[in-house]
Structures are given as structure tokens and as C-alpha cells.
Symmetry: C2
Subunit: 866 residues, 2 copies
């Protein structure tokens, strides 16, 4: 059996590990990689199981070492012309916790003289030896890093490493060796072969150290994957001004421009680039510095692109004028670059459209749809704190702590950022008026986050480090006080908060974006709708490619202007008559809303959810506000207070809401249906095509649906008949409670559509309130108990299983039923993929996520059959 492979022989990453496979592949396609070999991952498992190396391994290693000597023209352990190697671990995925790297292996006091001869640089050679002893002593022999550092700093006395003289370095090496002897009871090995085998042992053993085991468990990496060991000839970029090191990209990772991009430093090691002590040069300057190397790099860049058929990043070292490639991998890029590169590469014939579509991360598109802080300004300004990035984009405005004030200031032409402990539906007006929203509490699916995203409004939530004093209209953060009227800037894409007024830039959406999205739509076969409550949102979503509205929440409409007053009258009414009178006032306003939404979505389906939130959300909570409202409404404080009290709930999420309101007060449902149908008639009468889908929320019982369906049909039929105008409408329900999911067959029989409300379904399936789960979800993720926040990424095992049960039952009972999703997950790529898998008809998400969902859906489809 073969256990050791020379670079270029095979490229299977499960045998060679990722790093080994990469180096081997580059070698294979003729790139100048420092030669080396890889001991296979299978040996690792063998060693751990049988406590000994497989037979013949040593012979194989020696044979490869010999080959390496031949390739390099140097000899391992030969004092005159020593071969030095690096030894690195490498599993099929990169895995922290394992032994990483030993450089300069093969050095001892004899070979050192050879290195001096080779490099003509005694200080360099001794420094290399010092580093080797320290690295080997630490990672192979297990002596604590800080103990070496202590010795080192006792010599440096505040100077830089480079200031150490040869004599000092010699003394340090001596001290290191003494330390190692003391700590381990063993002499530091002088024999290069002993060094090599000890290093190999150390790599294999590190597979089962605790950090590695934990990491594997958390990331579901099989314990029997094993790690490989890579042994590679050393090259040095710091052997003079004809040496150097650098990193690059085959195309511009920021703009996507088809032009090599990168930086380098002459006479330097990789760590010098990282340390930032010297400023690297732009790769273009290499043309002048070392033109033949530049030409060589350009040639390699072209090979890389042709071979990997994607933009690559790479690391290289130049040793005395000779270029070596040390690493390459797919390059990270901005959204803009991703799209440009994908479109360009199709045009260049490098990849096909399917591949192009797979090249752009759906989440990235978000970057293209919002204003951004000018990257230059951002580089120069430190964020004062950071919250959760709830809704992307930059917002710049004056700090305001009260939604009404936000509204008034905006009316006056001021730009404001609304800062709240947390937001509630009453704040909507102020949120709409603000440039952005910042809250101290709440998670990624808190009210502020959801509304922010649905409005496409930059939003940072759960910024726990800010301490808000709403009364005094100020907040304190890390000792700084921000008062009302002070300018602040937030970045909803990163969660950063800046003091002052940072410049913003409009995103440059190139024509490539449009081309790309057209390709995308050609591959996807699940519908994409939007969650939109206003004509403006509907219009925007349609521009972003939405094929209808999957969720229009009617309650948001209830908070606007005078409406809240009528809503409150309804709640405070003593009897049905009183409620009906108040509802009469709401009717024309709701109707007008629907007319405008139907027009914006002309010809496309519009799913309208009947009133959903508990009624107490429409009433004030504090005594002061109650007093004021009581005066306004002309009732006593006591009466209003007692209504507020009576509506209080222990668990509002599980309270008197959704269809329960309609069952208890059918007159509310009647008014809403009347508004919907009359609006549709109005639109259709004027040549439009309104397609309302009336949705019943929070259903847990078949009987609720039967009751409300009866109410809806009675009203709708009457109005349609009377008008003589044709309106085709559907009736359906949200599936957001486990009971609805398991009774899907019975529900499906009498309904036209289902829409999964996975926010609430996640809450009830897990028994988590999303408002409260912030207390433990982060820790759950940290401890590896949860892989993702289930409010962000749909939980396939639990919530998804209920969805599967539901779909199977529903389709069996009613093959024509239309099934979609309108929870926040409808715009999250992994969740969209799952929705495709389980056969939903459409996903629905906030307008700004529509392009993301379109791309994710296309990728899911392609993923299935590329």
C-alpha cells in the first residue's frame, strides 16, 4: 500500500488533506511549488488505532526524502548544503486545534554552517535556528510558548527581534535548549531525522488532542477523517533584495476587474507582510522592481484562472529571483466583484451560466441594495460599539429617542436615527421616518429587526453596551454620552455604530447585476414573493423581482394616522354595535390601502393576513399615556386602565390573537374582508387585475377555519354579487402552530393555500420566545448545542419535520393546494434551499431579500442537478 505521495502524484484531498492536495495540484499543473511530499491521512488513523506506523512507512518516507533531495539538490542533515523542510498538518477541512507548522526543520549546529554558506548571512541563519528551536520545543515537545517568550524578551529588553546580534541569538538558543531539557527531561534532538519523525508523530497525535476533538464534534467532522503530514522544502523570501514575498488575487476582489491584484515586499518573510511594519507595494510596481518575476507571476495567474476557472487568491515567495507558489485558493470578493467576475467568466467562455450562478453567495447581494458608509471614511474611523447587524445599509442622522419626535423632525427635513430600548408596533411611524434604527435590546428577529428589514431600513439591534436614558434623551456608550441631536452613523450590515456624520455612497449597481439576475430566474422553479404592507414596499419588491405578495400584514396599517384612534374605539366599545361603528371608520382607510397595493401588484397574487396581534398592542401601557388617551377618548382613566389591565397577558405570543380575534369578534373579519373585496372590485372595474388571497392567522383548529371561512364567504359573495364585477379570491391559512401542521389534511380540504409562518412555528416547536431566547441562544451556539440560531436559519430536523408532515398530509388531502412560506426564513438562502427540497410553491420575504431568495432558489435547483 502507498502511504506517502510526492507533490504532483495525486490530488485527492481525503487522502492528502486539503493543504497537501492543493500543493500537489499546483505542482501537477506545472506551477513552481517548493517540492515536498505528503504522508496520507490513512496513516493517522492507523497510528491512532494500532499505536504504531504501518509497515514500510519509514521506507516510503526515506524514499520520498531522497527524491526531495534530488529535486532540490540539497541533502537532509548534510552540513555543507543542508535541505531544510517545513512540516505541516492538514485534514480535508482546515481544523484549528491541531499541531500547525514547524519551519526550518533539519537545522542543527552543523547544518547551520551549511545554511550560512548557502545564504551568506550568519544572522539570518542563527535567527532561523532560534525560531526552529522555539517552534519545535513548543509544538512538538510541548513546552509552553510563554516560557520561550520570557527568555527572548529578557534578551530583547524592549528592542525588536531584528536588533538581536548573532551572539545574543546563540545564547538564546542555549537557554532554549536548557529550558527544554528542564521541562521535558529530554535533550533537544540534534539529528534531523529524529526531528522529522518526532514532528510527524506530533502531527498525528495532535489529531486527538482535546481542542481538535471538540472542534470536530461541533463541526460534525468524522473522527476517522485523520490528518495528513506535509513535508516541504523551505524557501526564503528574506535572503536579499532579489528575494521577497507577497499575496495576490487573479482579479480585483473589490471591483471584479479582470486584472491581477496584489501586494508584495522584497527581502521579507510572510510574517512581515502580516505584521504591517513595512508597507507592502502594489503588485504593479513589481514590473519595475523585478520585471521577469512579474511576467512569471502573470503567466502563473493565467494558468491558475484557466485551471481553477475561478478567481483565486495566492501566496508566493521569491528566493533569489526564483518565484515559488506557496498556496492558492478561491478568492474572497465583494458582491459587486462576484457578479462581475461571474458574468465576465461566462463571456470569456471559462464557465457556464449554471456555474456563474453558483459563484455568488446569495447573502452578498444585500450589499448591492443599500447605501454604504464610504469605505475610505470607515477605514479612518473607529466604531464606538457594535450591535447585531439586523438590516443592512448605512444610516446617518441626529440621535432621537422618541418616535413621535423622529416623525416631526423628519417632516421638518431633518435626518434622524431612532434610538430605542426596543421598538413596539406603536413606534412604526417614527421608524418609517428615521434613516435608521438602533436598539439596545432584542435579537435578529426582534420587532425592530423585522420591521427594519421589511422597510429596507438600516437597523442595528441588541446593542447591549449602550445604556439608554429615554427620559433624559441620551445614551452612554463606553463612557461617551450621545445626546439628542448629536449626529451618529450606523452600519446595519456590520452592526457598527459610529459617532458623528460619516459620508455614505450609493452602491454602484452595474448592468452585470441585471444580466446575472436574468440568468438566475432562468434556473429557478420556486416562486418568490414578498412580505410587504405598503404600496411603496410592494412597488420596490416588484422592482426587485417579486412575483406577488406572500404576506401583507394588515395591523401595520392600523397604526397610521387617525386609524389608531378608530382601532382604540373598537377595542373600548362595550358591545358589538360599538365595535361595528368604529370598524365603519376603518373600512374606507383599509380599502384605500388595498386598492393601492393591488395596483402596485396588478396581475399578481396578494396574500393579505387578517388582523393578527393581541389587542393590547394598540393601547398605551404607561399610566401617563393612559391618562392622556382617556382624556382624548372622553372616558375615565379608570375605565381605560381597567381595559388595559384586562387585556394584559402573561404570554402574549400565546394569547388572544390571530384568528382567535376573528372568532370572538367576527365583525372585525367582516370589515377586513369587505375592505379587501371592495378594493379588488374597484381595481378590476378600472381594468386592473387584483388577485386577493385572504389569510387566516394563528389557526390551531379546523373549526376556526370553518367558522371564519363561512364569515369571509358570506361577506365576499354578497359584495361581489351586488357589484357584478368578477373577483377571484382565495382563502387560506398560516401554518404557524404545530397543531395546524399535524392537522394539515383536515385543514387542506377546505382551503386554497397554506403559508408557513416559520417565525411562530419555530417559537412553538422549540418552545422559545424569540424575544427572550436571546438570553441563551448565543451561549447555546458557543457550546455547540445549537449550530445556528433557528430564527435565522430554518431548523430542518424539528420545524422542518413538522413542515414535511404538514405538506405530505395537505397534498394528499388536496393536491391543488398552494403552499408557501412567509416567515423570515423565506429570504435566508439555506432555508430557501430547504423550501425547494420539500416542494413549496413559493417563498416570500422582505423586499430587500427578494433578489437573495431568487438566487438561493436557483442555486438550490442547480445544486440538485448541476
Amino acid at each position: 500500500m502507498v502511504n506517502v505521495y510526492f507533490f504532483g502524484e495525486i490530488t485527492d484531498k481525503y487522502i492528502l488533506g486539503n493543504k497537501g492536495a492543493q500543493l500537489s495540484e499546483m505542482t501537477k499543473i506545472g506551477l513552481p511549488v517548493p517540492p515536498g511530499f505528503t504522508i496520507s491521512t490513512k496513516v493517522c488513523i492507523d497510528v491512532i488505532k494500532n499505536k504504531k506506523y504501518p509497515e514500510g512507512l519509514k521506507e516510503e518516507v526515506e524514499a520520498n526524502l531522497k527524491r526531495l533531495e534530488e529535486k532540490t539538490g540539497k541533502k537532509f542533515g548534510e552540513p555543507d548544503n543542508p535541505l531544510l523542510v517545513s512540516v505541516r498538518s492538514g485534514s480535508y477541512v482546515s481544523m484549528p486545534g491541531m499541531m500547525d507548522t514547524v519551519l526550518n526543520l533539519g537545522l542543527n549546529e552543523k547544518t547551520l554552517s551549511g545554511l550560512i554558506k548557502q545564504t551568506n548571512d550568519e544572522r539570518f541563519a542563527w535567527d532561523s535556528y532560534r525560531r526552529f528551536v522555539q517552534m519545535f520545543g513548543n509544538v512538538v515537545m510541548g513546552v509552553e510558548h510563554k516560557k520561550f517568550e520570557k527568555i527572548l524578551s529578557s534578551y530583547k529588553k524592549g528592542r525588536a527581534d531584528t536588533d538581536l546580534a548573532v551572539e545574543e541569538l546563540k545564547q538564546i538558543v542555549d537557554d532554549y535548549k536548557k529550558l527544554i531539557k528542564e521541562e521535558t527531561g529530554r535533550e533537544f534532538p540534534d539529528d534531523p531525522r529524529e526531528q522529522l519523525y518526532m514532528a510527524i508523530d506530533a502531527v498525528f497525535n495532535s489529531w486527538n488532542n482535546e481542542r481538535a476533538i471538540v472542534y470536530r464534534r461541533l463541526n460534525k467532522i468524522p473522527d476517522d477523517a485523520g490528518t495528513a503530514v506535509n513535508v516541504q522544502a523551505m524557501v526564503f523570501g528574506n535572503l536579499g533584495w532579489d528575494s521577497g514575498t507577497g499575496v495576490g488575487f487573479t482579479r480585483n476582489p473589490s471591483t471584479g476587474e479582470n486584472k491581477m491584484y496584489g501586494e508584495y515586499l522584497l527581502n521579507a518573510q510572510g510574517e512581515d507582510v502580516v505584521a504591517g511594519l513595512r508597507t507592502p507595494k502594489h503588485i504593479e510596481e513589481m514590473k519595475k522592481d523585478i520585471p521577469q518575476v512579474y511576467e512569471e507571476l502573470l503567466r502563473i495567474r493565467n494558468i491558475l484562472e484557466k485551471h481553477y476557472r475561478d478567481m483565486q487568491d495566492f501566496e508566493f515567495t521569491i528566493e533569489k529571483g526564483k518565484l515559488y507558489m506557496l498556496q492558492t485558493r478561491t478568492g474572497k470578493r465583494t458582491a459587486q466583484a462576484a457578479i462581475k467576475i461571474a458574468v465576465d467568466m461566462v463571456n470569456e467562455g471559462l464557465i457556464n451560466k449554471k456555474e456563474a450562478i453558483m459563484r455568488v453567495k446569495p447573502e452578498q447581494l444585500d450589499q448591492l441594495l443599500h447605501k454604504q458608509i464610504d469605505p475610505k471614511a470607515k477605514e479612518q474611523t473607529k466604531a464606538v460599539t457594535k450591535g447585531l447587524p439586523a438590516s443592512p445599509g448605512a444610516a446617518v442622522g441626529r440621535a432621537v429617542f422618541d418616535p413621535d419626535e423622529a416623525f416631526e423632525l423628519e417632516e421638518k427635513g431633518e435626518k434622524v436615527v431612532l434610538i430605542r430600548e426596543e421598538t413596539s408596533p406603536e413606534d412604526i411611524k417614527g421608524m418609517a421616518a428615521a434613516e435608521g434604527i438602533l436598539t439596545a435590546r432584542g435579537g435578529m428577529t426582534s420587532h425592530a429587526a423585522i420591521v427594519g428589514r421589511s422597510m429596507g431600513k438600516p437597523c442595528v439591534v441588541g446593542c447591549e453596551s449602550i445604556s439608554i436614558d429615554e427620559k433624559e434623551k441620551k445614551f452612554t456608550v463606553n463612557g461617551t454620552v450621545v445626546k439628542e441631536g448629536d449626529w451618529i452613523t450606523i452600519d446595519g450590515g456590520t452592526g457598527e455604530v459610529f459617532l458623528g456624520r460619516l459620508p455614505v455612497v450609493d452602491p454602484k449597481i452595474k448592468g452585470d447585476f441585471e444580466i446575472f439576475m436574468k440568468w438566475v430566474d432562468g434556473f429557478r422553479d420556486i416562486g418568490v414573493r414578498t412580505n410587504a404592507d405598503t404600496p411603496k414596499d410592494a412597488q420596490r419588491a416588484r422592482e426587485f423581482g417579486a412575483e406577488g405578495i406572500g404576506l401583507a400584514r394588515t395591523e401595520h396599517m392600523f397604526f397610521e394616522g387617525d386609524r389608531i384612534k378608530a382601532v382604540r374605539e373598537m377595542i373600548l366599545a362595550d358591545d358589538e354595535d360599538g365595535r361595528r361603528k368604529a370598524l365603519e371608520k376603518l373600512l374606507p382607510m383599509q380599502k384605500e390601502d388595498f386598492i393601492r397595493i393591488f395596483k402596485a401588484m396588478d396581475g399578481l397574487p396578494v396574500t393579505i393576513r387578517l388582523l393578527d396581534p393581541p389587542l393590547h398592542e394598540f393601547l398605551p401601557k404607561e399610566d401617563e399615556e393612559i391618562k392622556e388617551l382617556a382624556r382624548e377618548m372622553g372616558i375615565t382613566f379608570e375605565k381605560l386602565k381597567s381595559v388595559v389591565e384586562s387585556l394584559k397577558e402573561f404570554n402574549p405570543m400565546l394569547g388572544f390573537r390571530g384568528c382567535r380575534l376573528g372568532v370572538v369578534y367576527p365583525e372585525i373579519t367582516e370589515m377586513q374582508v369587505r375592505a379587501i373585496i371592495e378594493a379588488a372590485i374597484e381595481v378590476n372595474k378600472n381594468g386592473g387585475n387584483a388577485k386577493p388571497e385572504i389569510e387566516i392567522p394563528i389557526v390551531s383548529m379546523v373549526e376556526e377555519v370553518e367558522f371564519l371561512k363561512n364569515v369571509i364567504e358570506k361577506v365576499a359573495k354578497g359584495i361581489i354579487e351586488e357589484s357584478g364585477v368578477n373577483v377571484e379570491y382565495k382563502i387560506g391559512t398560516m401554518i404557524e402552530l404545530p397543531r395546524a401542521a399535524v392537522l394539515a389534511d383536515k385543514l387542506a380540504k377546505s382551503l386554497d393555500f397554506f403559508s408557513f409562518g416559520t417565525n411562530d412555528l419555530t417559537q412553538t416547536t422549540f418552545g422559545f420566545s424569540r424575544d427572550d431566547a436571546g438570553k441563551f441562544i448565543p451561549l447555546y451556539i458557543e457550546r455547540g448545542i445549537l449550530k445556528d440560531d433557528p430564527f435565522q436559519i430554518l431548523d430542518r430536523d424539528g420545524v422542518g419535520e413538522l413542515m414535511r408532515i404538514c405538506i405530505e398530509k395537505a397534498r394528499k388531502a388536496n393536491p391543488n393546494i398552494e403552499i408557501g412560506i412567509c416567515g423570515e426564513h423565506g429570504g435566508e438562502p439555506k432555508s430557501v434551499e430547504f423550501c425547494c427540497e420539500i416542494g413549496l410553491d413559493y417563498v416570500s420575504c422582505s423586499p430587500f431579500r427578494v433578489p437573495i431568495a431568487r438566487l438561493a432558489a436557483a442555486q438550490a435547483k442547480i445544486h440538485g442537478n448541476i
Copy 2:
């Protein structure tokens, strides 16, 4: 086809309806029933479908009428010797809303003279006629009842019916007929045959009146069941002192004594007995009054018991010395009587043990386990209001509004009833001290109700009509003010609240109860455990037959005495060390609890749930209390307030609780496991046999279980090994979240047991909070949307479906897994039946429901195969 059956021909209640079948059956077994015939239910459906009677129906009716004339020796419509009949509806179940009864049909001014001749009583005859015209005019011809009453009272002028003279009756009849003519446009029919067919029509048509339709829908009675029409010869009990009427039971319905029991009135009609104007005589007196009738009744009583093989109630009429049986049915009885009758009848050889077991309603047993208000006193006192009967038994005590005061007064020897808006875990001490608990808010599964039942403490909850002023220490109900210290009495079995101090009686549990329960246990094959948190409850439950503890809630232990202080210290600790220090203080107390519980349940399994409620339940809420506690704990108000604030939750039910506490603070779990295992060692060391089952609550993820199982095993293993004492313990989880149910296969693999927490599972499956659902559940039941409160009776379709999915997955993955239920449903008979059906290993319920669950389980088993 036969459509009409003479009494005694057949006895199928689906053809004859229930009443017809009963009369026919009594006739068949030779009892003296006034003869008659029944038009079958099938005719009803025929009439409604085809709008006409089936062919030949009239001929059949006439033939049966002829047979009736022959039987009675009277002739229908014959002036000299008229046959009068009653016409009654009757479906296979009794059904309000349909036309009920027309008596004296066949009377007109001609046959009236015959009646006078027959009875020799002109006034009686005219009064009968007056009643007939009124009844017929109302139920057959549809004239409003009150219009007749208006005419009648204009003659009565305050006198009794019986004071009306013949002349007045004649005028009334005249006025009635005029009224009918005016209202309906039709003459009152004189022809007895016309009367008869009109009445038959009316019965059939009433099948589809609105009230009947609604009732059928609510009670799931098929629309095509139809009603029968019963036509029966009239008999009169008011034809003199050799006539009479009465009701009776074949045995004493109160004590169960094997002796006929009943009351009668001579020269009276059934309605006279009901009206209560004359006091009926005890049936024993009949021996002297009319001895030959008494003997006949006794003979019939024996026939009834032998035939029906159960205690019957019956109605009879004596017409001129001749006894007629008008009705019989299974007699209602007290729990005591039910048991005595069942045991006696087995001993008498009338029924077998299986039948005996089926004769006692499980819910009834509750009556035998609690103190009761003296029935005599109750008859004489009107309840001042009524709430929900949450936990049975009578409690008498002084009104107290503060739990601490309740505790202090009880210490001083006072009896108190604790009155609260609602209770919370902090009130436990006061609740335990009180005789009973009365709350203004909350449903049958509110905190007060659950704790009340688990303590066996009388409890009335959700008594919305009382308005509590906790500050002023008083409540107002219907205008009456009850102040602290006033005596009140509550009946937790009926929900009644009385002012003052009613006498109570100890229930007399006869030896029959014990015999009966032994039989019960012989038939059941599901285990019955108890939910008990204290040694006292455990002991009591064991006496009631519990075979272990299915749920011991450790948090209740945390509220006692000094413990709450240590718990608070733990919550307020800044770090793990601080928490551990506080937990150290709790350890010996928890251990002591468990030792006592293990001893009480020696040899039986004890399921102990790890800490479950959110931590804020252990802290005060009001600023005043926070201030006080802060002083006590020696910290600042601000610090304590900020902890309280940070622990606040929007939806505590879905918050930071259950195993989430253990995952975040494993040291809590460690302490609890240490206490459990050390206690078991202590018990086993001294010859006992503790069988702890450690239960992880609120699990939604396999990873939570793995994490905590690891914590539990590590602690347990260490202690057991160190002690050298053998302790067998199990680890399991509650299934109370839908996600746990659908992931049961994965959970089952590593666990020994599951226990369904159906309270929470119902909440999350329905998306109802049980604390809030009180707002709409009653209305849902009223509108027929819910049949039962799912917190009382397990919802088979939804929650039950999840349980089925869970059990199937779990048993497939781990055939040895033990599965039980510990929600409130574990003691509710219908739910217990379901638990048997789906194959649970045991049910667990509060101590006072253990006998109920035992009986329900036996009945479920017998029900399957009697």
C-alpha cells in the same frame, strides 16, 4: 315496509328513538305501561327529504290507533268514551330544541263530555281541555307561549290555576281559540284526527328547527338520525284519592342501600310533584295509603332491577287504583351509592366485576376523598357567587388576602381561606397554610388550580365576579363586601362561594370502596403514579394506590423557609464561584427532601424533575419588595432591580427555563444530581431501596440531553463509586415541546424514559398560554369550536397525534424506553383512556386523582374487551 310499531313489538332505539324504545321495552317485559305506538325515525328523514309521508303510513297509523282503541276500550274522537293520547318526539338521544309534548290530544267540545263522564269531574275535564288548547296552540300551531299566559293571568288575577271555575275555563278556552285564529289565520282544529296528524307533522318538522340543528352540530349527532313520534294513551293521576303520581329509585341513590326509594302524591299530576306546592310523601307511606299498589310497585321494582341489572329511576301514575309505569332509566347516584350498588350487585350475582367497574364514574371518586359542605346546610344557603371548581372539597375559614398573613394566622391556629387575584409560586407557603384558595383570575389549570389539586386543597379559581382590593384587604361581590377576617366557605367541587361559616362533614368511606378498588386494579394494566413534591403528598398518594412518583417538582422545594434566600443568592451571584457557594447551602436541604421522599416511596420509582421555572419566579417584582430584599441581601436596590429587570421575559412560558438553565449553569444540575444520588445512597445504606429517575425538563434538542446527561453521569458515577453503595438510577426527559416529540427517535437512543408533560405540550401545540386562554376558551366551547378545554381533556387530534408520532419513533429507536405522562391529564378519565390506547407505561397525577386514574385505566381496559 313497517313504519309504525306498537309498544312491545321491537326495542331498537335507532328506529323508535330513546323514549319509544324505553316504553316498548317496559311493555315487552310485562310492565303496566299505558299502551301506544311509535312512528319510526326513518319516517322523519323520509318526510324531510321527500316532503311527503311514505306510502301507506296513514294506514299503519290508523291500524295502530285501532289496536290502541282495542287495548284501552276507548275510541279516538268518540264523544261518549273518548281515547285521549299524548304525542311526543324522541330521537335516539335526548335532544333539546325539538317539539316536546302535547298532552290530552283528542279533546274537543264533544269528547270533553265523554271525559266528564269518564272522570265525573267537569272542572278537571275543562282544565284538561284548556291545557290541551294552550299546548297545541303553542307547540303545534306556533303561537307564542306568553300570549296564552297573558290571557290566563287576566283571569287568574293572582289566584292559583286550581281556583279557576269551570265557567272561567270555558271563557279562557274561547279566548285561546280566538288568539290562535288571529295569530295563525287558522281555526283551532276540532277533529281529533286532524289534531293527531298536525301534531305528528309538527314533531317531524321540529327536527330541522334551528335550535335542534345547532344542538346536533355541537353534539355531533348525525342529521339523518331523525326523531320518532310516540303516541300513547293518556292516564291521569288526579282523578281522586285512589289516583296519584310519583317517582322512585330501585335502590337508595344517596347511600346505595338495597331498598326502594321514592316519593309520591295522591290525586296529583306529575307537574304537581315538580311544582312543589304539596309536599310529597315518602314511598314507605304508600304501604298504608294504598298497600296493593305498593306491593305492585315493589314487584315492578324487582322486575326492573332484574331486567336492567342496574339501579333504575322510574316515574309512575296511579289512575283509579291502577298503576302505570311512564318511564324508567338508569338512576343517577352519589359516588358512595355507586360503589355500594356495584359491590352489592356483584355479591347478589346480578352483574360481574367488569360490569361493576364500569358502573362507577371515575370523576365521582373525588367526592369520596374530600370534606364536603353538609348537604343540609347547603340546601338552606344560597351561594353568593360561583367560580370554576378547580380542586374539590369544602373549605371554611377567615378571608385572608396575603399569603404571609395566611401562614402566620395558621400558625396561631386560625383557619383561613386565601383570596388572591391569582397565585404565584411565591404564595406556596400561604397556600399550604390555608384551608382553601379562591382566585379571581385563572382557569382550571392556573397555578392556584394545579397547586390546589396537588395539595388536595379545595380551590375555586377564575371567580370573575369578585373584585379584590388586596391593598384594602377586602373583596366585593354582588354588592357585598367581605373584609379580612370575615368567615367564608368555598366548595371546590362546584365552584360555589358562600358567606359565613357552613358546617362540613367528613366523607364516609365504606369498606366497599376498598373492595371495589381491589377489583379495579385486577383489570388495569397501565401503571398509576403520582405527582408529589413532598413526603406528605407521597405518603398520601401511596395510600391512594400510587405505584411511584411520576413527577417530583424540585422548584417547590426551593420556596420553603431559608431556601429561597440561598436560591436568591445563587441568582444574584456574579460568577460561577458565587453560584456554587449558594448552591452548597441548598445541597443539604435538597438532599434531606429526597431522603424523605425516597423513604415514603421505598421500593418504588421516583421521577425527579430538575429545576424548571424561569429564575425571575424566585425574585420579587414590586419595588417595595425589591428594596426590602436588597437590604436583606446587603446589596443596593439598583443592583437588585437591574437583575430583576434583566430576568424579565416577554413570554416566560417560552423563556429561559427548564434544561436551558442547566445548560447555561451546569452547576445547578450538578448540585441537584448530587442531592439526589447522595440521598439514594443514604437510604440504600440503611436497608431502603431508592429508585431515582432523573428527569430533564423543556428539552427541544438532542444536544441539550447529551450535554446534561454527561453532567449527570459524571457527578452520579463519582459519588456512587466513592460510596461503594449501589444505586440504580435512570435518566430521562419530559416531552413537552413539539420538537422533542418529532425528534423522539434521536432522544430515545440515549435515554431510559420519557414523560409527556402535556400541560406545556398543549400550550405549544395549540399556541395557547393556559394563563391567557381563559379569555377565549369559554367562548370557543360555547360556539362549538372547541368541544372541551384541551387543558382539561387531552386533545387527541393534535397533541395526541404528536404523542403518537413520538411514541412510534421512540419505541422503534429504543424498545425498552419507559413512557409515561405527568401532565394534569394523567388524572382525567378520558385522557387516561387515551393514554391506555396509545400504549403508555404509566400515568401520573396528583395524589387525590390516583384512585380516579386507577378506575379510568381499568375501564379503558375493559372498554376494549368487555
